[in-house]
Point group: C2
Chain length 416, copies 2
């Protein structure tokens, strides 16, 4: 894409009321725009990142047999009354609205109830189970404060998968499969090394729930990391009992701040019982299905990456989710030799299917370099009279800062 056609402009300063580092950077770089506290529009570059993350998640959920659906934002109170989650005294972050024709509605803050009720017409026998259904969609939470940028918005995009099983063994097997899928997602978006499978408080059905916690000083959670076994314990469940259970002492753990980027938990019959998702088992007995729920914040992942990978010059995107692989920067006089060469290179890249943002704007080198650093594509390629005189192009790796001269063949080998 030609940068001259990208309407978004970079900014020197973020809005004064914005405190989160991720939002400050993403707003300055023109990836997002602030509508209200905790409510952000995704501009073209930001939307590309969001869609790339969604597609990675989608591929991994499909790989474990998940079928994608799209539930609704408007939610029927009747369902939540059956599970005792409608009352504001019980769930304190509903957005509620009213129908002109009468009656209240909620804005989806989670979809356990809706998905369970929807499936009632589609399950009758144990042969219909297991079942794994997910969606990638907006959720709405009426947070009193919203100061974490896109890491915890009032309106945000989440992948939520729900699985239903005939027995606990089957649930446990599938739960482990999804855990594996989550690990692949974190790996692929570039957060594999920073993310820990974390034991957190459970519920009625199981002793622990499990979180995926990504290390960051901006995190709201405190976790205790065991580097050797690569897992962590959330502060909320850290006691003598859990230490004994894992056969470790406090000396084996390091306290860290972290962002809860994903969480998975076993629900048992918490929703299937009150909402009537039942099946007839092999012995002719009618039972409620056993469920689990698997959440992953899509824009929260993006915000976390902006938070933990950036440096003082701007964003640094991992290659798999960068809006473009290459930021091609033409220097010199518009229409001059370097621009013509850059145009050629842009065409070559496009023909090879290499994703490239071409800075064809009539601006000085300093401004172009500052923008390239702020936008954070993995590779910056400069075409100028100077680089052409030395027979090639200047390639800079955004993350390492490493700069070198390359010819066309070498360049394509690296970025293709």
């Amino acid at each position: 894409m030609r940068q001259s056609q990208l309407f978004t402009k970079t900014r020197r300063e973020a809005p004064k009321d914005e405190v989160a580092e991720n939002a400050k950077l993403l707003i300055r770089a023109g990836f997002i725009s602030k509508e209200l506290a905790g409510v952000y529009t995704f501009l073209p570059l930001g939307l590309i990142v969001l869609e790339k993350i969604k597609n990675i998640i989608r591929e991994e959920m499909n790989a474990v047999g998940g079928l994608e659906v799209q539930m609704t934002t408007l939610q029927n109170p009747e369902l939540y009354e059956k599970t005792n989650r409608w009352d504001d005294e019980v769930v304190d972050n509903w957005f509620k609205t009213e129908l002109k024709s009468g009656g209240k509605l909620g804005l989806g803050l989670t979809h356990e109830e809706a998905i369970t009720a929807m499936l009632v017409g589609h399950v009758s026998s144990y042969k219909d189970l297991p079942m794994s259904v997910y969606q990638i969609q907006k959720k709405f939470r009426n947070e009193i404060r919203a100061k974490s940028g896109i890491m915890r918005g009032r309106e945000f995009t989440m992948k939520d998968l729900y699985s239903f099983h005939a027995n606990e063994e089957d649930l446990n097997d599938y739960y482990d499969k999804v855990k594996g899928a989550y690990e692949r997602v974190f790996e692929r978006v570039g957060l594999g090394e920073l993310t820990y499978f974390t034991f957190a408080s459970g519920g009625i059905f199981s002793k622990y729930s499990h979180e995926f916690q990504t290390l960051s000083e901006a995190g709201e959670d405190t976790i205790y990391v065991n580097e050797e076994k690569k897992f962590a314990i959330n502060k909320e469940v850290l006691d003598e009992e859990i230490l004994a259970e894992f056969g470790i002492g406090m000396d084996d753990l390091v306290e860290k701040k972290a962002i809860e980027t994903g969480n998975i938990f076993k629900l048992g019959t918490r929703y299937t019982e009150p909402l009537g998702l039942k099946f007839i088992d092999e012995n002719g007995e009618t039972k409620p299905a056993i469920g689990a729920s698997y959440g992953l914040g899509v824009d929260r992942l993006m915000g976390t990456i902006a938070e933990v990978m950036s440096d003082d010059r701007g964003l640094v995107w991992p290659r798999n989710i960068a809006p473009f692989t290459v930021h091609l920067v033409a220097l010199g006089t518009e229409g001059g030799e370097a621009y013509t060469e850059a145009e050629d290179l842009y065409r070559v890249f496009s023909e090879l299917g290499i994703e490239v943002l071409f800075d064809d704007r009539n601006l000085g080198a300093g401004e172009k370099f500052a923008d390239a650093d702020l936008l954070g594509m993995p590779y910056r390629v400069i075409v100028s009279d100077k680089t052409l005189a030395s027979g090639g192009f200047e390639l800079k790796e955004r993350q390492s800062g490493e700069v070198r001269m390359v010819n066309l063949e070498e360049l394509i080998e690296i970025v293709k």
Copy 2:
């Protein structure tokens, strides 16, 4: 995909409270599920259709230079107060909600205000124009009645594009380009012949707005079609003046019922003036940009197709947007020769990238045929002992009902 793994079951009857033919069929076929009147979940097959329609629209919007963004559902009343569209007396179908931290919010029913305000920081000079920005996203309208299925929901998916220009000539040029893009969308989704470019009531800035009206007895609009010139006039603007303008008489027009599937209109400075989207022109003068707005209902398109293409046996999907191209039906005993052959064919299709739904369920022929007709894939292929004995497969075209025997080579040629 294997049908045994698709959790949705077909139903003989639609819910009693459902009156719209599109929703009845889509619910019976397991493409959608009803949450509330006018509020539908998209199940796996329905979501595939929806995504295919979105992608066609996306390609055509990109082809006319549109840049995709994602605005928010939660809307700031301040913007709508500036354009006098917040008050329920003025706009009567808002869904409104309240922040826990105080203050009202709206649920996006349109995004002229939000997009105009968002662009203020990105436009300063005539060199920044024209600008064309779109999104494909949910909208919410608090309809008193919702009886049209997914053709007019309370929560629905819409593509809305907005363009901004420095002068009227540029606006008019671009407006015609988008008209062309719309015609290609209707062509590609299979509604080209049934859809008429229709003159409807305009506003302050231009005499007429333009609708894309698709002929259907289920339509809420009455239009007057001129077959020869392939355009129509909405009843609301039909008078002596418009007839004179087009040089036609009432004899040249035929009255039809139609569904408004798209609409495009010139807004002038209706939103840019109150919201301050201004630019400095070539003479140094500050002016508000001139805008236009282009809407297209995504699920409305899908509902219209379900409505106008179906027959008494079920849905009939045009090939470009069908969930799968082929419905492969194995008959006979599970594990028998026909099943084994069908498994082979399923593998061949999958390797060739042919989209196939494989009915591998252990059910009788009658039930499988009824489901295939109801689900409406363009081609049904039967593999049975009988077809194998005669050396091939039975191919049925869903739309024409034409049935013939084909060998593997012929089959692949047709469906690939």
